[in-house]
Symmetry: C2
Subunit: 140 residues, 2 copies
């Protein structure tokens, strides 16, 4: 089977509030949106922000909770970008979880929650290559 | 800012149980592993399965819960692949959430939870292109 993930779908409570965070905070552009979902074309896959009751209906189970045991990371090209991006995200409706500092494994990172308490790590990791299409390659 | 996600990190309770699901169920190969984390190189980004207490420590907050309000999707090339992949995932330690059927928006899909109750949608969506490197493009 392909080593491939096609979509990351986040359950959201208010599509407009979530959209503001992603469009204003990250500066991303939706590729499709209706009154239930907003899709963003990402680096080799698709991000969806889906009204949580609709996600639960599609999944066939209710009781999805936050904060879930996961995080998403957006890596930036320079150490100084980390705090700057985190500040933009907070201005766009995010909430600071952990201020940026240097973890034991190297680099520099902090965490911001999106309006639905989904965690975003903003990280500078010089060992992981990012090409001009945004494709990220693991490195040591 | 690049429209880019670098890492999806899932919090897991037992690395070996999680590894069995991803390696045996999906057939994926880790690019790195130690006693705290397993990384998989994916289609333009990296998937990490991180021991949940270590994820909470890195994030600077405890109390991450499941099932979180999100899902990941793995799209397959043919409708008949959906149930076959779901069966493999259940044999590898997953749990059926929703048997495969046709959603109102088209295609065919079902949901399986990984051993940590993270939801995977297995989907056939002929409108979304998947190239030979596994890169997925939104389509209508």
């Amino acid at each position: 089977m392909q080593q491939q993930i096609s979509v990351i779908t986040l359950g959201v409570g208010d599509l407009a509030v979530s959209r503001r965070f992603y469009v204003t905070g990250f500066g991303w552009t939706p590729v499709f949106e209706n009154d239930e979902i907003v899709f963003y074309q990402m680096n080799g896959f698709v991000l969806g922000t889906f009204w949580k009751p609709s996600l639960e209906k599609d999944m066939g189970r209710t009781g999805l909770v936050a904060p879930g045991a996961f995080s998403l990371a957006h890596n930036v090209p320079a150490q100084d970008d980390v705090a700057a991006v985190m500040e933009r995200l907070v201005e766009a409706g995010g909430r600071l979880i952990r201020p940026a500092d240097a973890p034991p494994h190297g680099g520099f990172r902090g965490y911001v929650a999106d309006p639905d308490d989904h965690a975003w790590e903003i990280a500078w990791n010089p060992a992981w290559a990012i090409d001009d299409r945004g494709h990220v390659t693991f490195g040591l």
